[in-house]
């Protein structure tokens, strides 16, 4: 990887954009609109992460299969999330309910 294509100024500019994004993600929640908070908080986190990965970690000029490796990891996490969501994310399902939420179960021994 050569340095010529990535001059000094480039990095500082990216850093500046990242800081602007940081400020937006802080201001967003102040408006107290839940949807907007989600977008500014998590959408901007994704943008920031991609920018750091692409420009600071030089993934923009890295071989393609590094992307594949990293994305495989994220896909594994999505699979995990999907598989767990019906059990962990909800209070009840088919023929079961979380009885701590409804205080309907026997007292715990601890």
């Amino acid at each position: 990887m050569t340095a010529e294509s990535h001059g000094h100024t480039n990095y500082v500019k990216i850093w500046g954009i990242l800081l602007v994004l940081l400020v937006i993600s802080l201001v967003g929640p102040e408006l107290e609109i839940p949807v907007l908070t989600l977008i500014t908080a998590f959408g901007i986190a994704v943008v920031k992460a991609v920018m750091v990965a692409a420009y600071f970690m030089h993934l923009n000029i890295e071989k393609k299969y590094i992307w594949y490796v990293l994305i495989s990891g994220i896909v594994a996490l999505l699979v995990l999330f999907a598989g767990l969501s019906s059990d962990i994310m909800v209070d009840d399902g088919a023929n079961w309910q979380d009885c701590i939420a409804t205080s309907s179960c026997v007292e715990q021994r601890l």
Partner: protein
């Protein structure tokens, strides 16, 4: 990365003069020596795990009586024994033998380079592994005894000393497992990088021997599935030692979460172990039937498919564990689906035999035996993958019999196949064929008499992890007890038949027939090196590769093999 990790150790790896004992055998950075370290640690732990099996099988056959070589088995002992038998056999036998030992020994030799890319990282990996071994065994000698909450270590039982009554044993067990995982992560990064970057000139992707492909796919699978469990282990450790409540419902946690994290790793783990072993068998059946592997590319692609599918089947271990029952149908479908690529691979192996010139040397016996026995394990998996039938068979000895019919051929039969096959390369001498055959028949016949009775008992309704079935009136019948005694007797016989192997292993190092570079007339690069390979592996120059690894009996050639490094 690796170069910075333990930069302070000053090892003279390239010195060709006599090295002292410590730098040659203990702190070596040579991939072959590290492979041996893993191999012998694995064999030692296999003996420990076998001893545990002997003790608890004796307890089941003769409940309450003093077991020779152990004493009376209390319920706590029994639980600790089955827990650690499972943990040891998976994490301290299967992983170090099949992946770390064979991986370390074979990868640089088979891809034609002189060592792993990060030799010192490799050594660190073994040292962490050894530390984890010592910690695990130390668990038996702390007050309260070793952890007995089954190898799955489901919380809240594992999370609270008040529940499991082994307040020290449980965290020790968990730390040992976590360290072992870290060791294999470090080793795995090394393996993948080596194979990706350091292949011999001319070795294209589709010239890599199947065993290397399988080890690498297994390692990648391991890396992607183990992460959540590492996080889960940290959380469980905090539950145990700090008293947080990640997995304890009374504190707001969720025990099912841990089950998911465990099996998200735990199921791919089965394939992490299976794949390297399938690779070993592929090498052996091609060499001893003098045949090209049937459908090399097909097998590589199927292996990828197995890897991907194995990530989406984990909840079949939890059908009745309190997960939402609607999810069970999804996971039942994917589970039965995974039988398809596995079937492809095994069909391809069987097809490889067609038209061969098969010589039944000891390694080939183990390999054929492995396929024959594994098929039983494979088909019984369908019973358990079918969610409706799993309602009955879950936590039943049918499951125990099933996974021993998969794990045993994978780890023991496949492992021995590999040892008998590569022994000449490892130590420069041949093993004794007669002792090897006695060992084979003395292992595989009693094995069936251990676990066939467990299928029968499982169908009869016997559940797992019970130290004395006399407490259950429906299970206390004399017919059932006879089956338990049969299984125990077979266990003892099988363990006794390991003695010929131990004799063979150590005797042949000194007295075996000299092997020469290529005793089996095989094609892959490790047989180009001298036996045993010196440091640097290829003293006559690093090999170059001109063709795939399975060009046996090519028409028009005088010899029936065509090594990868021979230009024409």
């Amino acid at each position: 990365m690796g170069n910075t990790v333990n930069a302070h150790v000053d090892a003279h790896a390239h010195d060709h003069h006599e090295q002292d004992f410590w730098s040659k055998y203990v702190f070596s950075t040579d991939h072959k020596m590290i492979g041996f370290q893993y191999l012998f640690t694995g064999l030692f732990m296999a003996a420990v795990g076998g001893y545990m099996a002997y003790v608890f099988r004796m307890q089941l056959a003769f409940p309450g009586e003093s077991v020779p070589g152990f004493g009376t088995v209390t319920p706590g002992n029994y639980n600790a024994l089955i827990t650690n038998h499972g943990t040891i056999m998976i994490f301290w036998v299967a992983m170090p033998m099949l992946i770390a030992a064979f991986g370390n020994f074979l990868i640089p030799l088979m891809i034609g380079c002189d060592d792993m890319v990060f030799p010192r990282l490799n050594r660190l990996s073994y040292q962490i592994f050894l530390l984890s071994t010592i910690i695990l065994l130390a668990g038996f000698f702390v007050p309260g005894g070793a952890f007995g909450g089954a190898w799955t270590s489901y919380p809240p039982l594992s999370a609270r000393g008040e529940y499991n009554l082994t307040p020290l044993g449980a965290p020790i067990w968990l730390v040992a497992v976590a360290l072992e995982i870290v060791a294999f992560l470090l080793g795995g990064i090394n393996f993948v990088t080596t194979v990706m970057n350091s292949r011999a000139p001319g070795m294209k992707m589709m010239d890599i021997p199947i065993v290397i492909w399988m080890i690498i796919i297994a390692v990648v699978l391991f890396m992607f599935s183990v992460g959540p469990l590492v996080a889960g282990a940290v959380m469980l450790l905090f539950d145990q030692v700090l008293g947080t409540s990640f997995f304890v419902p009374s504190g707001g946690g969720d025990p099912v979460l841990f089950q998911h994290l465990f099996w998200f790793f735990g199921h791919p783990e089965v394939y992490v172990i299976l794949l390297p072993e399938m690779g070993i068998v592929a090498e052996i059946i091609t060499v001893f039937s003098r045949k090209k592997l049937f459908g090399y590319k097909l097998i590589v692609y199927t292996t990828f498919t197995i890897g991907v599918l194995s990530m989406i089947v984990w909840a079949h271990h939890q059908f009745i564990a309190g997960i939402d029952p609607r999810m069970a149908s999804v996971f039942s479908f994917t589970t039965i689906l995974i039988s398809i690529p596995i079937a492809v691979t095994f069909f391809a192996y069987i097809a490889t035999l067609y038209g061969g010139s098969i010589e039944f040397k000891t390694p080939m016996l183990w390999a054929i035996g492995m396929i024959a026995v594994f098929l039983v394990g494979g088909v019984t998996g369908i019973y358990l993958g079918a969610s409706g039938l799993d309602i009955y068979f879950h936590e039943n000895t049918f499951v125990v019999a099933h996974f021993h019919y998969t794990m045993f051929p994978i780890v023991i039969l496949g492992g021995f196949a590999g040892i008998y096959y590569w022994y000449p390369k490892m130590f420069g001498r041949m093993m004794n064929e007669t002792l090897g055959k006695i060992h084979f028949w003395g292992t595989i016949i009693p094995f069936n008499f251990i676990f066939m009775p467990l299928f029968a008992l499982g169908i009869g309704g016997q559940h797992r992890r019970i130290y004395n079935y006399m407490n259950f009136p429906d299970l206390a019948s004399p017919e059932f007890q006879d089956l338990r005694v049969l299984a125990t007797t077979a266990t003892v016989i099988m363990l006794l038949f390991q003695i010929p192997f131990v004799i063979n292993l150590f005797r042949s190092m000194k007295h075996g027939e000299k092997a020469g570079n290529n005793p089996w007339k095989a094609n892959t690069l490790e047989w180009v090196a001298p036996s045993p390979p010196p440091h640097g592996n290829f003293p006559e120059g690093m090999p170059e590769v001109y063709r795939g690894p399975y060009e046996y009996s090519v028409p028009g050639r005088e010899k029936d093999y065509w090594p990868q490094n021979v230009p024409n």
